[in-house]
Symmetry: C2
Subunit: 326 residues, 2 copies
Amino acid sequence: MRIHLQNPDHDPLFDFSRAMWNAAAARSPDIGMGHDVSLGVTHADFIAGMRDAEALVTDASVIKALFPCAAPNLEMIFLTNAGLDRLAPFDWLPPGVILMNNRGTHAAKSGEFALMSILMLASRVPAMVTHQRQGVWRKLWGSVLAGRNITIVGLGTLGGATASHAAHFGMRVTGVRSSPAPHPACVRVIGTQALDEILPETEFLVLACPLTAATRGLMDRKRLELLPAGAGLVNIGRGELLDQSVLCDLLDNGHLSGAVLDVFTPEPIPPGHRLWTTPNLIISPHTSADDPATYNPQSLDIFLDNLRAWRNGRPLPNRFDIVRGY
Amino acid sequence: MRIHLQNPDHDPLFDFSRAMWNAAAARSPDIGMGHDVSLGVTHADFIAGMRDAEALVTDASVIKALFPCAAPNLEMIFLTNAGLDRLAPFDWLPPGVILMNNRGTHAAKSGEFALMSILMLASRVPAMVTHQRQGVWRKLWGSVLAGRNITIVGLGTLGGATASHAAHFGMRVTGVRSSPAPHPACVRVIGTQALDEILPETEFLVLACPLTAATRGLMDRKRLELLPAGAGLVNIGRGELLDQSVLCDLLDNGHLSGAVLDVFTPEPIPPGHRLWTTPNLIISPHTSADDPATYNPQSLDIFLDNLRAWRNGRPLPNRFDIVRGY
């Protein structure tokens, strides 16, 4: 197959190299060998690659700038990102071309980040860091995770990995997703419409769902205030899933004991923004899901898994549904 | 048996109650029932209790102020702390009385705190918090734990729990202890005298050993500088295990990527102390090991385990060796 790998020109830490491709091909010799692979970084590279490429692998941050472009043989685009909300509407996508996202790549790193965040909330690290900023020694006691109630919104790659870790530590895990099918790490899974009923008993809330029309503003003032006093919140989904200023209010007045956020509105957080000085809040700069050492190898493995499915006429595990939004 | 529980007068969060005793007795009916149990908080309560008590359960922070005191029937003292370094020399201990510490109680909470700290170092949270303090958005990438080298000094309750968690996440765990017996979570266990050889390949160093004559100042300048560039450090043992000012130097100059400390010299950290503003450092106020909701129940369970061993003429699992220091 003619495969073109297009690197963005702004993030060399996550660039694909020919050595990475060769290593991925060697890991999956049944499907990885015998392809004609080109790499590019400039727009001219892209135009040249698209003349005969059948598959394109690239990053969501550049895809809209690359098209329209003549790509007569293109069958599929694999984007190395999971959340493609910023690419809507999808009218830039050449007709008939299959779009795939990179769900799965982020499981290990995101799951560990979410577990870390839950442990930080249980140990009151957001408050400890606030005291540290003030230069004040104040004893502050935490708890173990066993037996605590956690609610995880979204049970895809991120939420599923989070649920597994939480269950391993003996937490009582409630999953929330659009269709409430059971999940092995959850004592129960509910539909999004039942969220209000379980928020009052939620000690830890993790937002790990994609941003769609259905989830935008999901945690509004009413729902955030349904969380019990002392609850903690983690957001590894998208900033727009919650009302950020209400969250700051509830941290300011102490109703919530802490929050660990990896995503914000807007990003980057502007200088002088209220978030920088909100107490009991930990700010991670939207890097929770990505380990530079393992990201590209895993992305290529997932791409090759999809190529195998395509060749065998099976459904593509990473096919992106532009109507559903994930 | 006549058992006296003496609560310190300064920390009601960790006070024993009769209900706690009754619940512990019900959990271990073979050994918990039929005792004559008194509770006290004042010095007068203590003197009255010691008139006929055979066992004393209390906190290390008050024990030296309680003795000398006539205690003609006293057989054993169970202290609800693990590290008893501050009680040396042990000349306050009535002759012939068995001393026990509370090792084991801290496994769950300490292990989770240590895992959290390792995950925080891997995700670069100490640096993120430093950037947050400066109000600056700066992308900073972390890594997953799998395959990374961790060295854990001390494989008792704290270090053993830490090693198990680290192994669960696929880390390559090296244990360090005075006698290098194997440990199921470690790929190797070395004696303290071989520490210098493995520090250069240690990406994460966890100090989880007791403070003794042999471990005081263990991580001096020479050893801290043997850690490779970018390494991270966790201390859940005692502040005196390391040269704190050299640690601050190595965080200031960026040789170490971060540190999470629960113990310090001195405690509390005085206002204006260098530690408060050292970059890439997380300060926890010596509360990593203790969960108020589970601490006392676990302590009483461990005390009753020892009482069972004593009644059956077996060695006491928590007997404290005043020569060895743990």
